[in-house]
Amino acid sequence: MTFSLLAALPQVGEMTVATGAARWVWLAVAFPLVGFLVNGALALKRPEAKTAVSVVGTGVLLAAFAVAATVFVQLRGHPPDAPIIVSLWSWIVSTGMDIQFAFQVDQLSVVMLLVVTGVGSLIHIFSVGYMRADAGYARYFAYLNLFVAFMLVLVLGSNLPVLFIGWEGVGLCSYLLISFWYGDKANADAGKKAFLVNRIGDLGVLIAMFLLWWQVRSLEFVTIAARVPGTLPVDGGIIIAITLFLFLGCVGKSAQIPLYTWLPDAMAGPTPVSALIHAATMVTAGVYLVARNSVLFAMAPTTSMVVAGIGALTALFAASIGLRQYDIKKVLAYSTVSQLGYMFLAVGTGAYVAGVFHLVTHAFFKALLFLGSGSVIHAMHHAYHATHSHEDAQDMRNMGGLRKYMPWTFGLMLIATLAIAGVAPLSGFFSKDEILAAAFGRGETHKIWLLFWGMGLAAALMTAYYMMRLMAMTFLGDNRTGAKEREHLHEAPWIMTGPLVVLGLLSLIGGVINLPAFFPAGPHHVLDGWLEPVVAAASRLMPVAMPHGATEWALIGGAVTIAAVGLVLGWKLTLANPIPTAHDAPEDTGFARVLFRKYYVDEIYDALIVRPLVAFSRVVLWKGVDQGLIDGVGANGSAGLARALGWIGSRLQTGQLGFYVVVFLIGAVWLLRTVAQ
């Protein structure tokens, strides 16, 4: 009978049977999941048990990190030739289809695993101090644990649908954590916006899955990578469509133009959330997705160019908005959007390793920046709270001179600032340099890549400027918090500063994982070698031409100079004139105002899409079609017609018996006549 087809198609891609620690990789997901359940139960039943919550919340993360480390050690000891697939159970089955709930352990997913659990652990520890006083402490850790579980599903999933569980799951947690303080409508709005905008991207991932299933009958990464090259023509319509739809998902999740608007709003959530979800992990999922499907993107050079172009444009555009923001977290948010743009520039260029490299270093220094800003906000908040003042604790115009009160935070954030600006030899320098060099190198194939490179360089200048501006406004100059409030400013407790120190160290030396050949000390190209098995196929299709020799040195020199110029400008220009407090500051005018209002993009979307759609649904569809046409004309109309006919008929009922008899008689005579004939 035909049901023999029930069995899944054989795997075409190569895979390795799981052995050793890799078999237990699912524990990395299970631990945070258990943490979620326990903390969730505590949140409902005993929200005051904060110690238990802290222990469980951070404990599960450390356990997950331990699992990740163990798997990493195993993989380093015995690098597998092909991804290790750990199948847990058969999830969705149909004819010719058996989607396993399976995890894929390979060099790429292990890198992500380490970043997510490692940086995640630090941020969890930081949160213990940061959220201590919040009534929703248990709920917070429940969500945070759930997020990590979903994020690990995302990076471990061995096929697109399982990845999609994590993909949407992290979106959900992001939604829950952005609207964490839901009593304020603005926060709830921001959460909803994040989810909806992400859904637009998810639509892309869904359609990409449908296209892939239609064309190659598989959704497994290894099978796709093996089948697509022989099935679809390079740069053909189908492969371009698949990759463009996948990229739409990345644009949503990783906040690229035109779907970036949710990320700055997402700062409504608690600051450690911004660090974990909206800087270090979730938003980089798009970059991971491209790297994971590098073969597809390498087969579609057109899409790759679009990816790089959108990335470069976003890097520049977002950085320009960052120039004129006053909210310390907004600056970092736009900075994140901008840095994500770099990563897409990298993966679009074909420098997948560079993209992942920047993803990792960015996770370090951006998490540090966010957590540092969290410490600052924490201190500011306490100061204002102590004096019952209602000033904005996040507005940099209310800060200034905090270096004196928070030396540790200042020092560590300075490291991160130099790293993100690209000062050698900090981590950001190496990763950013590699991206720009790759884009420049591709300029040989098409001039447009030089434009992308130029945009990246311009964005680097702006990055250095706005980061130094942030540092100067926050930590340098005179304090503007207020005389009384000043006395309450103090350094954050060690449970918060501790993770900062670790991240500071990583930002400082993170470059060591992929040092370029010109660097005097070794080992060189560790990450390149590590990820080689994952991106080899794509690299063959789309080789990256890295500049060498004098060109290379010129590029490096240019980049470092630009960083230095930006930093100095940011420092000098910011402190050139006294900064008024947020309370007294005059409104921005001219182009500064356009930048401050973020080019009015939110307003434009609202006016062009959101409002018309709601109005159309209400006025035309509901009131017009539903109530007017179908119900009014159709249903009630036919009811009215029946009533009208009945009314006419009822006129014949005079109630006079004589009339009835006459009518009856006429009828009878007529009937007789007819019968007689």
Binding site: L44, S179, A188, L196, R199, I200, R227, S617, A639
Partner: protein
Amino acid sequence: MTAFLASIGYNGWILHVLLALPLIGVVPLVLAPAERAKRIALAVTLVEFILSVGLWWSVETISGTLQLTSSTPWIAAWGISYAVGIDGISLMMVLLTTLLMPLCVLGSWNYIGQKERGYYAMLLTLITGVIGVFVATDLFLFYVFWEVMLIPMYFIIGIWGGKNRLYAAIKFFIFTMAGSLLMLVAILALAWSVAAKTGTLSFDYTHLLANAGAAKALAPWLFGAFALAFAIKVPIFPFHTWLPDAHVEAPTAGSVLLAAVLLKMGTYGFLRFAVPFFPSVAASPFVTNLMLVLAVVGIVYGALVAMVQPDIKKLVAYSSVSHLGFVMLGIWAATVQSVQGAIMVMIGHGLSTGALFFLVGMLYERRHTREISAYGGIAKVVPVFSLLFGIVALSSIGLPGLNGFVGEFLVLLGSFGVHPVSTGIATTGVIFAAAYLLWAMQRILFNKLDKRENEALTDLSGRELAVMLPLILGIVWLGLYPKPVLLKIQPAAFKYVESVRGGPAALDLVQRPQEPGR
């Protein structure tokens, strides 16, 4: 389990008992004092559910044919018999019904304050009608059950409903009746046409199915009559306007059953009767395109209109229109994946929308209003309610890992290869679904707790948790491990696809793609 069932002759009597038990249960219920009515109803429905569970093991899933069949002449002169049988699709629908019934009784516990005996008697009668529709294998019997189901529902809305209940009840009745009378004519015409050819007048499903070709000349008309009856029931745009009214006015259990089970009778009718009887008409480009367009319009239209509803129940009602659009898309794309997905959506929608209506009802019992604007910020005072509401809403949105996703995913995945454009448009439904439910969630659960009346809301009671728990478990289970259910419905889905595409074509669809040369 199978051995145990065999030892008590389960397969022989189960369907008859499932049909008779609720009716028998009505007798003690009517005789007992009013305050005992709900306890009796609960007992009957629980027994019904426990008995029905065995079906899971007794329906085998290899052949996809009707099983546990039995037939007794009823009106022999007209070829009408009492014939029942069950396959993978109806199995799921029967289990869904029997699962929801005790929950409905529990959910009505404090809601129904007057004429309790009558209410529960109606509820029990409804079970017989609904299960009858799903297991009848004689078309005349099917029609009888179809109408039997209609009457208790009419009374449930009309007597125990809200302010505008009479309008809603009559609208519901007339809409359904308009379709079903045409269907009766079509059933008779089909039976006569087949009788004219084969010489036996019979309403037996298998007999008619085998010889439906006899009615070739009439086929478009007959299909039209069947399709109209089922389309109204589903409901397909533009026949959906009875649904919001009926949902809004019906008491909680009425809404739950309406959404979770009654709507599925429409799609079930397409799967079981309308399409397999007249595959040539159903597969004709005109009909297919029409249905696809209506399905896609339903998905998008339902979602957009749901977005702007001020009334929670109306919102959920329109969301049903949207979800059922996915079912119709899957049915008309007619690939194994899409049909399996369609049935999964039917089950999933039953659980999640049923749960949603229960939750709305619980809110209504506390505040006596369904206006979304009357709430806001209540997550603070009713955390457990909010958690459950969130889970259910997310499942309805189609979050992967919960049940809503599996069905929609399979429907879209299966349909895409056949109708890429329609499917692409339908996929946007996932965005709009998120829009209307998240917006509603925000306005109910989140924002500022600024209405005094809401501050005193009490969280869910043990009874209410007992109602929700099975549904939540089902939602998570079907989201993470739908395989057993998918396997149960696969053969039936396969058979359906074969009947539409005429055998071999069904296999083309699942043929292996060319292996790349490597």
